[in-house]
């Protein structure tokens, strides 16, 4: 199972230009709204025509601008799950699933419909119309409809964004199960970092129509190749930086020197750390702060809470004046926060060398 895509298309704000390949494992395309994610899917499905490029699915050329090949949507054998599912409102669930099975004999058609209905847990909903279904049921019906035709590739456009938050995790689990059973190439796009990480195996980070990173998701999250990718994968803290020795850098905005683990090969221009990787030290640990590297006193400037976590905005080295901006944004569980929120200022944070990301560019 292999889908190879290399396309270019001029859009209003930028040029979509990317190459990707995916096989048996699902590929997640992560990018902010308007980065060209949906357009990419539409090009692959044949709903939009790229200006140039080549799309090949299992050795079948679907699009080749050089050879003037452009297979119409209906012959591509690609299933597309639309963001709002696009179920046919005048047809029942069973009729929706049957829509793509027209060429089959009646008996075979019924077998396929039954198979999809039981696979996607739609039993009892066969005769409902889309408006009588919940969001999650609509999503499963749309998936069943797309899968019933045995597509060689399955494209999912923001599969969970139309759902209520409290339903998402459960529906995400079912989607994960469906994706793991699916034998073709699967590609899903999302703007949600966690969704991309959980559903995808490989990750493509898209920014203004360009692939900013492409590879195994763990690798991209651990070592983002650029500041842009780090930012798009959720990193909040950056500072301009320059190297001062083989394993030390100076972070100018943070006004400190930092030890790093990576060998500094190219000149460093920026350093970053994820909000949840900033460590808070107990006062007795901080007292011996000569023994631990990269420990700095800090003062909170403000905070923002979610039910289980708290985001602290921190000023390093000296107490903040009224107009001061924060240097760092740290995120911790509230249990941990409870332990030191009453501790005397300054607190001490550690920017662990193995957590620091340094960018040459």
């Amino acid at each position: 199972m292999a889908l190879e895509v290399q396309i270019e298309k001029q859009l209003a704000a930028y040029k979509l230009s990317l190459a990707l390949a995916t096989g048996a494992k699902p590929l997640a395309v992560l990018g902010p709204s308007g980065a060209g994610k949906t357009m990419t899917l539409r090009c692959i499905a044949g709903l939009e025509r790229p200006d140039s490029g080549r799309i090949v699915l299992n050795n079948r050329v679907l699009f080749d601008s050089a050879k003037n090949i452009n297979v119409p949507s209906r012959d591509r054998r690609i299933g597309l799950l639309f963001q709002n599912y696009a179920l046919f409102p005048h047809l029942t669930v069973a009729e929706n699933i049957a829509f793509g099975l027209e060429s089959l004999a009646l008996y075979e058609r019924l077998t396929h419909i039954r198979e999809q209905i039981s696979k996607l847990h739609l039993d009892g909903l066969e005769n409902r119309r889309p408006r009588e279904l919940s969001g999650g049921e609509q999503q499963r019906a749309a998936l069943a409809r797309a899968l019933a035709t045995n597509p060689e590739a399955l494209l999912l456009d923001e599969p969970l964004s139309a759902l209520d938050t409290h339903l998402r995790s459960q529906i995400e689990q079912q989607l994960l199960e469906t994706l793991s059973q699916y034998r073709g190439a699967a590609l899903l796009v999302t703007h949600n970092i966690e969704e991309a990480y959980r559903l995808g195996s490989d990750l493509l980070v898209l920014s203004s129509g360009q692939a900013a990173a492409f590879g195994p998701k763990e690798e991209i999250f651990r070592h983002p190749p650029t500041v842009e990718v780090a930012r798009l994968t959720g990193c909040k803290n950056f500072s301009p930086a320059r190297s001062i020795s083989a394993n030390e850098i100076e972070a100018t905005n943070w006004r400190c020197q930092l030890r790093v683990t990576q060998k500094i090969a190219k000149p460093v221009t920026r350093v970053g750390i994820r909000a949840h990787q900033i460590e808070f030290l107990e006062s007795h640990q901080a007292a011996r702060n000569d023994a631990i590297e990269n420990v700095f006193p800090c003062w909170p400037t403000s905070s923002s809470e979610t039910p289980f976590r708290i985001t602290l905005y921190l000023k390093l080295h000296n107490a903040p004046t009224e107009s001061d901006h924060h240097d760092l944004q740290a995120e911790i569980y509230k249990e941990k926060w409870q332990q030191f929120k009453e501790a005397p200022l300054p607190w001490h944070v550690r920017l662990a060398p193995q957590s620091l990301m340094i960018f040459p560019e």
């Binding site: 499905a45 044949g46 709903l47 119409p72 949507s73 209906r74 012959d75 591509r76 054998r77 690609i78 299933g79 597309l80 639309f82 709002n84 599912y85 696009a86 179920l87 046919f88 409102p89 005048h90 829509f99 793509g100 027209e102 060429s103 889309p130 408006r131 409809r145 797309a146 035709t149």
Partner: protein, 228 residues
């Protein structure tokens, strides 16, 4: 009854045939036009809507020029031995032409409101364009198309000016109810004019009720279904 009821049958037959033609041509033109943008197509719209804004006598006169003995279409038809002017088919042509814009306008609106992703979804499921049209566009546009059909039928039933120009007033052949009323009044037969008027009002009211009845569930269904 002391009257010849033929205007009723002629009116109904003319309107039914004219509406059938309008429906097919109107839906075909609307769906052809729907997927196209550009100035050239806007000119097509202008021509398609002309019968709505021109006085019916002008429409009738232009049709007469077109289908007359020396008109381009008239000569063509004459070669196969058909003469349209002052015949029953002329009433159908006149009624179809004046009712076409109403069908075209409502059909375009009805087709445009069918969500594009539904059509695209159908295509990714392997459906041909004809199947997309038949299974998705037509059913989802049906309430609007029905309203357009009723409007066109009502317009065809009330057609007077263009019919008189192209088909004349031949009792038993081209005399529809509106023509019968006009010539009854001209002849001073008020009683006859009133009876025909009552019949006309009755048929028109029944149609408007039908329109109201069918147009209402459509909007209710759409409100319930929202944008998706």
């Amino acid at each position: 009854m002391f009257y010849d009821l033929s205007p009723v049958w002629i009116s109904l037959a003319t309107s039914i045939v004219a509406t059938a033609i309008t429906l097919i041509l109107g839906v075909a033109a609307a769906s052809w036009r729907e997927r196209r943008t550009g100035t050239a197509y806007a000119i097509f719209d202008g021509i398609a809507l002309l019968p709505l804004v021109l006085p019916p006598t002008v429409v009738g006169f232009l049709l007469l020029l077109l289908f007359g003995r020396h008109g381009p279409l008239g000569q063509l038809l004459l070669r196969i031995g058909v003469s349209i002017v002052f015949s029953w088919p002329a009433t159908v042509i006149a009624a179809a032409v004046v009712s076409f814009p109403l069908m075209y306008l409502t059909a375009r609106a009805a087709i445009a409101q069918v969500d594009a992703p539904l059509l695209q979804a159908a295509r990714t499921l392997g459906a041909s364009e004809w199947r997309v049209f038949r299974r998705i566009v037509i059913p989802l546009a049906a309430p609007g198309l029905l309203a357009g059909t009723i409007l066109s039928f009502a317009r065809a039933l009330g057609e007077f000016g263009a019919t008189l120009m192209l088909a004349g007033d031949i009792p038993g052949r081209t005399e529809t109810i509106p023509l019968a009323i006009y010539f009854a009044v001209e002849a001073g037969d008020m009683r006859r004019a009133i009876i025909w008027s009552v019949i006309d009002v009755t048929i028109s009211l029944a149609l408007l009720f039908a329109l109201y009845y069918w147009a209402r569930p459509q909007s209710a269904a759409r409100a319930q279904f929202g944008r998706s």
